[in-house]
C-alpha cells in the first residue's frame, strides 16, 4: 500500500483579524505598571508567601477591599472604593505637609481574591493603571510612587464542611489568579482546623511556584482578547465610579 507523501505539509496559517488594544504598548516596571510592578517580576524575585499581614516592620497602611468582597460588590466598585480610600489617605497627608513620595511608600493595598479567575487577573492590572493615573496628578519625584503595592488574600467565604476539600482546589485557582495578575505577596492561609487541608497552608503556593512554570514569563495572559477587553472595561467603569466618589 502506498503511503501518502506528506513531505510538503505546511502549518496552515488561518490568520484572524488583528485587533489593536489600546494598552498593548505598556510594559511592566514602567508606569502605569499595567503588566507588572517590576521589569523582571518573579523571574528575579518571587512574591512573598503568607507574610504576616500586619506588615509591622514598616508603617504600611493597609487599604483593603475585604469588606466589599464579602458584600459581593462588583469588581469595578471594589477598585473605585479601595483606590479612593487610598486617595483619601494621600490627600490628608498632603494637607499635613507630607510629600507624595513618602505617602505612597506607606500604602499597601490588600485585595481579597474571588473565584472569577480572569476578572481577578484583570482587576489588579486595571487597579495598577488607575492608581498610577491618580497619583500622576500629584507629580511625585520618583516614578516608583506611582506603583500600587499589592498584597492578595484568598479569602474563603464558604467554609461549609462538605466543601472543605473543594476549598483546596478553589484556593489554588484563586492563588493562581493573584499570581498571574502580578501580586507582590499572597496569603492563602485557610481558617481550617480540618487536618485534611491544614497541610496545604504553604503547599499550594509552593506548588504553583515549582510545578506549574507560571512564573517563567511576565504577565503571561497579556494579549488575550478576552482578558484585555475586560481589563479595559473594568478600568473605564472603575474610573467613572472614582470620579463619582470624588465629587460626592
Amino acid at each position: 500500500m502506498n503511503r501518502k507523501d506528506v513531505s510538503n505539509i505546511r502549518i496552515i496559517n488561518n490568520s484572524s483579524v488583528k485587533q489593536n488594544k489600546l494598552h498593548e504598548d505598556f510594559i511592566a516596571g514602567t508606569p502605569p505598571y499595567l503588566r507588572g510592578a517590576t521589569s523582571t517580576m518573579y523571574l528575579t524575585k518571587l512574591w512573598e508567601v503568607n507574610p504576616s499581614t500586619d506588615f509591622s516592620e514598616k508603617t504600611y497602611i493597609q487599604i483593603s477591599n475585604h469588606q466589599q468582597e464579602e458584600t459581593n460588590t462588583s469588581i469595578e466598585k471594589q477598585i473605585a472604593k479601595t483606590l479612593s480610600k487610598g486617595l483619601e489617605y494621600i490627600k490628608k497627608g498632603i494637607k499635613k505637609g507630607i510629600d507624595i513620595d513618602t505617602l505612597c511608600s506607606e500604602i499597601v493595598f490588600t485585595w481579597s481574591v474571588s473565584n472569577n479567575h480572569f476578572k481577578e487577573i484583570a482587576k489588579l492590572r486595571a487597579a495598577r493603571m488607575l492608581w498610577a493615573k491618580l497619583i500622576q496628578e500629584f507629580k511625585p519625584k520618583n516614578q516608583n510612587a506611582l506603583l500600587l503595592k499589592t498584597h492578595c488574600k484568598t479569602i474563603d467565604l464558604d467554609l461549609t464542611e462538605e466543601k472543605t476539600s473543594n476549598n483546596i482546589s478553589q484556593t489554588t485557582l484563586k492563588a493562581m489568579s493573584a499570581i498571574l495578575s502580578g501580586t507582590e505577596s499572597l496569603d492563602t492561609t485557610l481558617n481550617e482546623t480540618d487536618s485534611f487541608i491544614k497541610d496545604f497552608q504553604n503547599t499550594t503556593q509552593l506548588y504553583l511556584q515549582e510545578e506549574t512554570q507560571i512564573t517563567k514569563t511576565i504577565d503571561p495572559w497579556a494579549g488575550s482578547h478576552h482578558l484585555e477587553e475586560i481589563t479595559e472595561n473594568i478600568a473605564i467603569k472603575a474610573w467613572e465610579l472614582l470620579q463619582e466618589i470624588k465629587t460626592t
Binding site: 500500500m1 501518502k4 490568520s15 485557582l173 506548588y207 506549574t212 512554570q213 514569563t217 497579556a222
Partner: protein
C-alpha cells in the same frame, strides 16, 4: 472614547523593556537569569508582546467542554448507579472502562445517550460486542476507544495479530461511528516531551489515515493526558488542532475539528503527600479546559494506591464542576485567543512537531518506527532526561523531592500496587512503559518504612 485613560503615559516598546531589564539586572546575566529552555528545546522569554502574536485562528469545538466521570465496570448494577449519580451531580459525560464483556442492558440502564457523551474504553477487542453496544446506545455522541496501534505500543503485542486486528477494526469502523482513538496519553505518561506527544499523535493518526483513507478522519478522536506545565499544556492542545487541520488538508478533508478527550497525567502524581495531587489536577484540568478539550475527565488524588472510592471521586468531580460553574470558565475555549505567550509557544510547538512528524514519515511511518524500536528509544531518551532533572531537583515534585515529610508512612494504606508491574510476556515489539517520575524514590521510602 477610552483613549483618555492612557493619555498620561507614554507607550513603551519591547526594546525599552529589554533595556530597563538590563538596568534592573545590575550586571546579572540576562540569558542565565531570564531565559528558560524547556525540555522541548523552546526558549521562553521573560516577556511577550504583540510582536509575538501569530494571529492564528484555531477551529475550536462548538460546544463548551464536557465534564466526564470515569467508571470501571466490575459489577454492572454498581457501575450503572455510579454513572447515574455522576450525571445527576452535573457530569455531562461518562467514560466506561471494562476488561471484559458485560451485561449491556444492566450497565447502561436509564442513561439517555443522546444528551450526554459516552466513551467506552475496552481493554479487549471484540467486534460483535462493540456492535451490540453501539446498537444499544445508537447515538452520535458515543465514542469507542479502539486503538490497535496504541494497544501494540502499550502492550508490545497486537490483540490477535496484525492482520486480524486490522480486519476487526475494519469491521467495527464500517458499522460504528467514533470508533478509532489515538491514545497519545500513553506517550506523555511514558515521558515523551510535548513536541514528541504532538508528533507521535499525528503520525499515529496518519497510520489509520493511510490504511483506511481520508474518510476515516471523521471516525477518529484523540486521548491526551495533561501535565503540570500550565501554559505549555494549553498550547499543546491548540498546536494539535493546527497540526491535525494541516494534515487533513493534504488528504482533502476540510471540515473536521478534532475531538479531544483529556485526563490529567499519572506521570507527575505521587504516592507520598498524595493530597498534593489535588493541586496538580486542579491546574491540569484548567489547562485542558482552556486548551479547548471537548471532554475533560479527572483522576482521584489517591488513584495510585486506593480502589475507586466515593469521597475521592467526589473531590475530583467537584473540581471539574467548580471550574465550570464558579470560576468563569463556561466559555473557556476562546479565552486564549490573542495571548502573545501562548500563541508564540503554540506556533513553535506545531512547527517543531511537524518536523519530527516528517522524519517519522520519511522513515516509513509510525508503525514501522515502532517495530524498529525508534519511537520507544526517543521516548526513553526524553524520560531519562526528565528523570535526571528530577534527581537534580531541577524538576520538582512537592512532597517527593522537595518539602517532604520524612515521617510519612503509607505502606498500610496501599490497596493497589502503585508501581509499574514487571511483565514476563513475550512481546512482538518493545512496549512503551508508562512510568511515574517518583517511582524509584517512593520504592526506596516504602522499603525503609
Amino acid at each position: 472614547m477610552s483613549n483618555f485613560l492612557f493619555d498620561d503615559f507614554t507607550p513603551s516598546s519591547p526594546k525599552a523593556w529589554k533595556q530597563k531589564i538590563q538596568v534592573d539586572l545590575q550586571g546579572a546575566d540576562y540569558n542565565e537569569t531570564l531565559l528558560w529552555k524547556t525540555e522541548e528545546n523552546i526558549t521562553v522569554k521573560p516577556f511577550y508582546t504583540k510582536e509575538d502574536s501569530t494571529h492564528q485562528k484555531i477551529n475550536l469545538p462548538q460546544n463548551n467542554f464536557n465534564i466526564c466521570q470515569s467508571i470501571f465496570i466490575d459489577d454492572e448494577k454498581i457501575a450503572n448507579k455510579l454513572a447515574i449519580d455522576a450525571l445527576k451531580k452535573g457530569a455531562t459525560a461518562i467514560e466506561f472502562v471494562s476488561e471484559k464483556k458485560f451485561n449491556i442492558e444492566e450497565a447502561l440502564k436509564n442513561i439517555s445517550f443522546g444528551n450526554i457523551y459516552v466513551y467506552f474504553n475496552f481493554l479487549f477487542l471484540d467486534s460483535s460486542f462493540i456492535s451490540a453496544v453501539s446498537k444499544h446506545t445508537n447515538s452520535a455522541t458515543v465514542f469507542f476507544n479502539i486503538d490497535i496501534i496504541g494497544n501494540l505500543a502499550k502492550t508490545g503485542n497486537w490483540f490477535f495479530n496484525l492482520k486480524e486486528d486490522h480486519n476487526l477494526l475494519s469491521q467495527i469502523v464500517k458499522n460504528t461511528n467514533n470508533s478509532i482513538c489515538i491514545n497519545a496519553s500513553a506517550y506523555q505518561n511514558a515521558g515523551a516531551n510535548i513536541t514528541q506527544q504532538l508528533a507521535y499523535a499525528l503520525s499515529h493518526a496518519n497510520e489509520y489515515l493511510n490504511y483506511f483513507g481520508e474518510n476515516a478522519a471523521n471516525k477518529m478522536y484523540f486521548n491526551f493526558s495533561v501535565s503540570g506545565n500550565y501554559f505549555f499544556e494549553i498550547a499543546k492542545f491548540r498546536a494539535f488542532r493546527i497540526l491535525w487541520k494541516s494534515l487533513l488538508k493534504e488528504y482533502g478533508v476540510e471540515n473536521n475539528t478534532a475531538h479531544i478527550f483529556s485526563k490529567p497525567s499519572l506521570r507527575n502524581k505521587t504516592l507520598y503527600e498524595s493530597k498534593t495531587n489535588i493541586l496538580r489536577t486542579s491546574s491540569e484540568c484548567m489547562s485542558a479546559i482552556l486548551g479547548g478539550s471537548n471532554t475533560v475527565a479527572n483522576i482521584s488524588y489517591d488513584v495510585l494506591f486506593r480502589k475507586s472510592n466515593k469521597s475521592s471521586e467526589q473531590i475530583s468531580l467537584h473540581q471539574l464542576l467548580s471550574l465550570k460553574e464558579e470560576n468563569g470558565l463556561q466559555e473557556a475555549k476562546n479565552i486564549v485567543d490573542g495571548t502573545y505567550y501562548i500563541e508564540s509557544i503554540t506556533n513553535q510547538l506545531a512547527e517543531n512537531a511537524l518536523e519530527i512528524f516528517k522524519l517519522i514519515e520519511k522513515g516509513g511511518g509510525f508503525l514501522k518506527q515502532l517495530k524498529e524500536g525508534i519511537i520507544q528509544k526517543k521516548i526513553s531518551e526524553s524520560a531519562v532526561k526528565e528523570q535526571t532533572l528530577f534527581k537534580n531537583q531541577e524538576l520538582i515534585l512537592i512532597g517527593v523531592n522537595k518539602i517532604y515529610n520524612k515521617e510519612e508512612r503509607i505502606k498500610n494504606e496501599l490497596e493497589l500496587f502503585p508501581f509499574v508491574k514487571k511483565r514476563h510476556q513475550k512481546t512482538l515489539i518493545q512496549p512503551i512503559i508508562q512510568k511515574r517520575l517518583a517511582e524509584e524514590v517512593e520504592q526506596e521510602r516504602l522499603k525503609n518504612e
